[in-house]
Symmetry: C2
Subunit: 336 residues, 2 copies
């Protein structure tokens, strides 16, 4: 492979507030490409270095990750803000929401509001050596979550019934807190974030993931579909929740006095090129969820049946042929 030339084009890719590499170089010998990084001095102890590399051949990306870590792998203050956005390629919701949340071996993680364990399974799979405590207020949910986690062969999760507003743990018990699809149901989301904070060790992180039903748009557009979605938003509001809480994660975490807050919007973009998401998200998750509130919405006289039913038909229409469906989740990470 003689005739190689090397050029650095880092300026447009350099992120703000980053560390500098002292040196780096790229060479090729035959089919081998050698990349040398010189790590800044002062990274001698209890540090973890992760090298992500992407190799492009033509337009086909290959992404792999390797880690080089010190023997003492436990790193206090490690956090999961390392957001590499591969959402264009994410084929499942789990991948989109959870693939960049992982906690180091030995760290203790509190999952607040685990429900029946739907998020507990990917959480535990991505951090197989973290020690996870998952709580939910409902004893029935806790039992179902235990069965789900056991069935998945997961052994690093302890599940117990507890009220997030009255948690049975000492101060500074956890290295990290994880909350997913919980705040949207609470009338006091800010208080919830404040209540869990003392349980977190200084330097630990809180990760919050929520959807936002006001972020939805689609093709073909439909007023009836927007009205049907709005009827769920209104029902949730009447129940004390907020189905559009995703956009508010930044002010909520600020008001709860977390620091180093980073917000990462995750749009689920669905068209016919992503059949798994057409079935798994547009139809079976989102539209089915809206459809599920039909009786409650009609009983509460929020919407006319003819409009609601047209709205549902129009939502299913976005899952056909040339249809497009967009929804945005928000992931927020803050530090104590």
């Amino acid at each position: 492979m003689k005739g190689i030339y090397l050029s650095t084009a880092s300026q447009s890719w350099t992120l703000r507030d980053t560390i500098s590499l002292d040196k780096h170089s790229l060479h090729s010998e035959g089919r081998n490409v050698l990349l040398t990084l010189q790590i800044p001095s002062g990274l001698e102890k209890e540090e973890k270095i992760e090298v992500y590399f992407l190799l492009y051949r033509w337009s086909v990306p290959k992404f792999q990750r390797e880690r080089g870590s010190m023997e003492r792998v436990y790193i206090h203050g490690y956090n999961s803000q390392e957001n590499i956005r591969l959402q264009d390629q994410a084929s499942t919701l789990v991948e989109l929401l959870h693939s960049d949340t992982f906690y180091p071996a030995g760290s203790s993680v509190l999952e607040v509001g685990c429900g029946v364990g739907a998020q507990t399974v990917p959480l535990a799979r991505h951090s197989p050596n973290a020690l996870i405590t998952s709580i939910d207020i409902s004893e029935t949910s806790v039992q179902r979550a235990r069965r789900k986690v056991a069935a998945a062969g997961i052994t690093n999760v302890h599940i117990q019934q507890a009220d997030l507003f009255n948690l049975p743990y000492e101060r500074d018990t956890f290295d990290h807190i994880f909350i997913c699809f919980v705040l949207e149901h609470l009338s006091q989301p800010l208080e919830a974030l404040q209540r869990v904070k003392p349980l977190l060790r200084t330097g630990g992180t809180i990760t919050v993931i929520e959807g936002d039903h006001g972020s939805v748009f689609f093709h073909p557009d439909s007023e009836a579909a927007h009205a049907a979605i709005q009827s769920l938003v209104e029902l949730q509001r009447q129940a004390g929740g907020n189905a559009m809480i995703g956009r508010e994660l930044s002010p909520l975490l600020h008001h709860a006095d977390y620091s180093s807050i980073r917000i990462s919007p995750r749009m689920v973009y669905v068209d016919a090129s992503k059949p798994e998401l057409v079935e798994g998200f547009t139809k079976k998750t989102f539209t089915a969820m809206i459809e599920g509130v039909r009786e409650s919405a009609l009983r509460a006289r929020i919407i006319e049946p003819v409009v609601f039913d047209k709205g549902i038909r129009d939502l299913y229409r976005t899952a056909e042929g040339d249809g497009v469906f967009c929804y945005t989740f928000f992931k927020a990470v803050g530090k104590k």
Copy 2:
């Protein structure tokens, strides 16, 4: 740095439909990290290899790019779908929209509808050795674009007045076509995509970037602000355009018979942690644009002045303290 251990954790990061690396390894010696990739055989001629690497120290990402290319760098069929989503960190709109669009040295690129050259400058800067032809139907715009490009010291762009529905070029003239913020103004966007296609060589790409005013949401939410935005959407509709065309790029490119279509939504997420975007996008780009149609919207009796003015105030409110503003652009790439 003895005590290093290496682990591969590629499974959750491996994209679908990717090539395989024959081998890779990671070693460290002192402060040097050595990454070796073995490129699959059969990449001997006219191939370009790009290695992107990220180094994480704690949670602080450092992203750099290096290229190693063969002497004969022109690659027919190269395309710009290499979407690495770093939008969480993008501090400017140009970075968000253009940082992953680059064309190889010697390739010929047609920019359709360059206007006054606002997108021509980043386009040319990212592909300094491509040969770019930019056209616009307005002679006045063409002259302004020429001055803008010259002032930026750019020498690889040729700008001329031409009508995209009647272009003065032979078939198979261009390797790539680039269209940004143009289709939204056309009453026949599909025909536009069909008209430019013969000019593209087989295997060449078309890149289309458009916004979508129906994708906007913000905190605090405001009906008046949505109504003010809707008045611009309605004016644009009355003028024959479509301010919500972003979501339709996939069906449009399909109907125009392009292949290998990939859609990449780019959300601009703005909160107080991104002061450049608060000023540069929420206030001076989006809200100023809506504010600019006040007289036309009132004259067309689309909206009451008191509602419009409250809407504008509410949009500026989203740029304050705990405000949040979200808007989504779409980038689409297709192949002939």
